[in-house]
């Protein structure tokens, strides 16, 4: 089956980047790893710049070209004022657009927060559930809520009943943190699996993998011959 040169080059490049990044596991910081590292930063920065300019073009430049200066005047001025930070003498002016951005963001978030994140959550605290397991879960939820909250009461000394309840709360927090940490483990495992897929499922990836294994074996033999204690 004929393989197009374009996709093959992309696959080879992808494979090289993955294997280059993984080379850290064998050789630590090495020239190939450094190339991959700085390239990743450079590409990401370039992509960010492109998108930023694209947004400026769509939201500011094109409306001005179409004669809608009034609609973009205030955002344009506030945006430009942000750059006054570059001079120590005029840096104070940049506080105005920063204040506007922070104020709007906070204002929008805070006005909606109590209902969505506090009141709606408190409604869950029902003792009655559709199934015995759900009812038991509600009881656990309520115990976890109050015991965890009691852990953060600092106006009362955590002794006696309060201390015991706080200790229960600490265990609930440990369980919650464990669940989150487990989630992070799952997330972190998914990334190299994606890379392994790129290496194993494409012709270019398979070529790079074979070359990498050969280079690895040669490198190990070379290191051994020089009596280097690497692996």
């Amino acid at each position: 089956m004929a393989l197009e040169i374009g996709p093959l080059l992309v696959q080879l490049m992808t494979g090289f980047i993955i294997v280059g990044a993984w080379s850290y596991l064998y050789k630590g910081v090495n020239p190939i790893y450094r190339i991959i590292e700085v390239s990743a930063v450079g590409i990401f920065l370039g992509f960010g710049w492109y998108l930023a300019l694209d947004v400026l073009n769509k939201q500011i430049v094109i409306p001005i070209q179409n004669g809608n200066i009034a609609a973009v005047f205030i955002p344009l001025v506030l945006g430009l004022l942000l750059y006054t930070r570059f001079s120590p003498k005029t840096a104070w002016i940049s506080r105005w657009p920063t204040a506007v951005i922070t104020g709007i963001g906070l204002g929008i978030a805070v006005q909606a927060l109590p209902k969505a994140q506090i009141l709606a959550q408190l409604k869950v605290g029902s003792w009655v559930g559709p199934t015995p397991l759900a009812a038991f879960s509600n009881i656990i939820y309520t115990v976890a809520l109050f015991s965890t909250l009691s852990f953060f009461i600092f106006t009362v000394k955590q002794k006696g009943v309060v201390g015991s309840v706080a200790k229960v709360g600490r265990f609930f927090m440990i369980i919650a943190f464990g669940a989150i940490l487990g989630g992070f483990l799952m997330t972190n495992i998914a990334a190299p699996i994606g890379n392994a897929g790129d290496l194993m499922q494409t012709t270019g990836g398979q070529i790079v993998t074979v070359v990498a294994i050969i280079v690895l074996v040669i490198s190990i033999l070379y290191d051994r011959s020089r009596n280097r204690k690497v692996v």
Binding site: L51, K58, I104, A112, A120, M200, Q201
Partner: protein, 293 residues
């Protein structure tokens, strides 16, 4: 000057201790094995994924779906499979029931990720006769985060002037008549972490108007425990999480892809991680006994 211990010296030079490298080497081999020889481990559809799927396939005929694409390319291996399945089902719904599907992105990568998925599904889009701007649209990256989420549900027409491809939004027939959350039938978002901002703005505003609109979430496994309370309260109608959720969605949608292929590697590496945790704990708790001996 006193010489640093071997482990510290190695780490400061940018290399890892031998034991750590061995752990990662075994890990690398384990994740590659299922790609060479698939194991076919069983996969049960979780109730959470089933609910998510049910909402996707039960949008009313002619309904409007708003989707916020907030994943970055770095999260693609984990979030990609479920997201491709989601787009596939929503576009299929557009073909079968005339629903409209609009994507908007609050982060820089999101719009490009959406574009990648639409390109990946181009054979289906062409086969179903769906037209860009009429049946589906990618509005691109819109700045503002919290303010942007609020704008989606309050003043949709003011969200952006041009779509991802530079077409004026006013020229897209799909945008006609869409003012605010009252014109939407399903909302959803793909995110790597917390759903709090969406709950504040989307659910909060809909609730203040007395509207119940299903809101779905495709989230990384790391974010699932954080967002789970919103599922309990019904603020989130459905949630699919991680690569496993992606594999489940592929199975439900019938469009098998990377999630299905990689789920064996996912399972096997989790068994390996559990084994490492048990080994490390046994080693730690028997340390005192070994010292006595």
């Amino acid at each position: 000057m006193e010489e640093l211990p071997n482990k510290m010296t190695q780490t400061s030079q940018g290399t890892m201790p031998v034991a750590d490298r061995l752990i990662f080497l075994i890990f690398a081999i384990l994740i590659c094995i299922p790609f060479i020889a698939p194991l076919g481990l069983p996969l049960k559809i979780s109730p959470s994924t089933q609910t998510y799927y049910n909402y996707l396939v039960n949008v009313k005929p002619g309904g409007v779906i708003i989707w916020s694409e907030e994943q970055s390319f770095a999260n693609w291996p984990e979030l990609g499979p479920a997201e491709v399945s989601t787009y596939y089902l929503l576009l299929k719904s557009g073909h079968e029931k005339g629903t409209k599907f609009i994507v908007v992105s609050p982060n820089t990568d999101g719009a490009a990720v959406a574009d990648r998925i639409f390109k990946q599904l181009k054979p289906e889009i062409d086969a179903w006769g769906l037209k860009y701007g009429v049946d589906y649209a990618n509005l691109g990256y819109v700045t503002g985060l919290e303010a942007m989420y609020a704008l989606v549900v309050r003043d949709f027409q003011a969200l952006t002037t041009r779509d991802y491809y530079g077409t004026p939004v006013g020229d897209l027939p799909i945008m006609t008549g869409l003012k605010d959350v009252r014109n939407f039938d399903l909302m959803g978002f793909c995110i790597s972490t917390s759903a709090e901002s969406y709950m504040r703005q989307w659910w909060g505003y809909a609730n203040s108007l007395g509207i119940t609109i299903p809101i779905l979430n495709n989230v990384q496994a790391a974010g699932a425990p954080i967002n789970a309370p919103f599922v309990s309260t019904g603020q989130l109608s459905g949630m699919v999480s991680g690569l496993r959720g992606g594999a489940e969605m592929e199975r439900l949608s019938g469009k098998l892809g990377f999630g299905t292929i990689s789920i064996d590697a996912y399972s096997i590496t989790h068994l390996y991680a559990i084994g490492l945790i048990i080994t490390a704990n046994v080693w730690f708790f028997t340390k005192g006994r070994r010292k006595k001996e």
